[in-house]
């Protein structure tokens, strides 16, 4: 008798769980105007990637063409694949002191795994992850980028 009741209740529980599943998919089915895929090439202009997306390493510059990179090379040490090369130069400041500043921050996008270790290691938050994802180029050379803009300087308030 108990087996019989189990049999019956199994049928009803089965139906209940199937209806629950149909409820979930039905919610999506009857709201077809809500979708999470993107009409990509058409909405290129308005497409906003989500905040945590890692497209490439960039170095933000402010309006006076100043960046925060001190040329310390911690990002270069932290990179597992040797993607980053920091080249520094020595300049003489107005008060006669010699000072080491950034010359070129070279970034090989083709070798980068977008692991974010350089960004986390940077002591002065000079580099961040950018949102651009259309990286296709016709020559491999174009994937090697210099992140600091020509003629850019270190921001005044960055501690060394």
């Amino acid at each position: 008798m108990k087996a019989f009741f189990n049999y019956i209740s199994e049928i009803f529980r089965g139906f209940y769980s199937l209806l629950q599943g149909m409820g979930v998919t039905g919610k999506y089915l009857f709201t077809p105007w809500k979708y999470i895929t993107q009409n990509y090439p058409e909405n290129r202009d308005t497409l906003k990637m989500f905040d945590r997306f890692r497209g490439e390493v960039i170095m933000p510059h402010n309006e006076n063409n100043e960046h925060k990179c001190t040329g310390c090379g911690i990002c270069e040490i932290n990179c597992p694949n040797g993607t980053i090369e920091v080249i520094t130069k020595t300049i003489v400041t107005e008060d006669g002191k010699k000072k080491r500043v950034l010359d070129k921050h070279i970034y090989h996008l083709g070798m980068c795994t977008l692991c974010n270790l350089c960004v986390r290691a940077c002591p002065s938050d000079a580099i961040v992850m950018g949102q651009k994802f259309e990286h296709a180029v016709f020559d491999r050379k174009n994937l090697t980028k210099v992140l600091n803009k020509p003629g850019s300087k270190l921001e005044a308030n960055v501690k060394e």
Partner: protein
Amino acid sequence: MAFSIYDFTEFTKSIHEGLSSSLSPTMTTVVEWVIIGVLYILFVALFGLFLVYAERKVCAAIQQRVGPNRVGPWGFFQTIADFVKLLMKEIINPKGVDGFLYNVAPYIVIITVFIILSLIPFAPGLQAFDFDIGVFFVTAVSSIGVIGILLAGWSSNNKYSLIGGMRSGAQIISYELSIGLSIITMVIMSGTMQISGIINAQANGWFIFKGHIPAIIAFIVFIIASTAETNRGPFDLPEGESELTGGFHTEYSGIKFAFFFLAEYMNLFIVSAMATIIFLGGWMPLHFGEFNSFNAAMDVIPPIIWFFLKVCAIMLLIMWFKWTFPRLRVDQILTLEWKYLLPINLFNILLMTAVVLLGWHW
């Protein structure tokens, strides 16, 4: 020529009389066959393509995607483009196939579809032929389709095709039983197996309302069994891509593959139409006993629209099943049939007999 969207009986009769007045009786029959055949081929091609499109859109909506949207407005011509591609593809005869059986298998499958379609009434008067044992004939003919699938699996000289065909055979033969028994349940209630008789018996209420509990149980069993019968998900074992590549149609290409594909979708239409005819009154508008003003309001919508609305609702339900439920293993499929559906069905026949004998239905 009296043409009315509400009743095609006069219209078809006037065509018949017009033809017989100018042609000999034999020629009249031949011309009518040709007209009906062309109409059905057009219907299968166009509606099959529409169903493939609808399936892809429903699937996309459930998975929160957009679906086909490149070819034509909302991707409407996508399936036509696909079909043209299939027509242009080379028909490959693999080495070692049983030539005759390999070539005849897709035709058996598609011919079955046409035979059953001829029994389906789209509107009053729009039925190719109607005879005493219509429902019985449909169940009998629909099991010919499995021969085509078995032959396709057997003759392909491919172990995956063979296993797929055998699984399909086991599944269809098992679930045929449930379909037959749930139809018998409703035949007990209607007292006739003639399709037009069944529909006319629902003039004062559909059977699913008139037969209440046993009719609803029979309806659920019928829907489950017919999903399995059409080899659709969650019962799509015969073509499990991960284990059988494509199942019985692995070795087919071009137009022969298109035949299997169209037959699958037309089978979806056929089981939905049968569910509509037996449980939801076919082309009969929604009527409730003696509420005459309500019935008259419902009669405004033409029967052909009622029929396609109901059929599309059931097809949507079956597509919804496919994209919601996880697939069953082969032993689970047979367990579901022999341990659950069959006993429930046998009990349900007893219940329906009692209800009919005691007059507890409306």
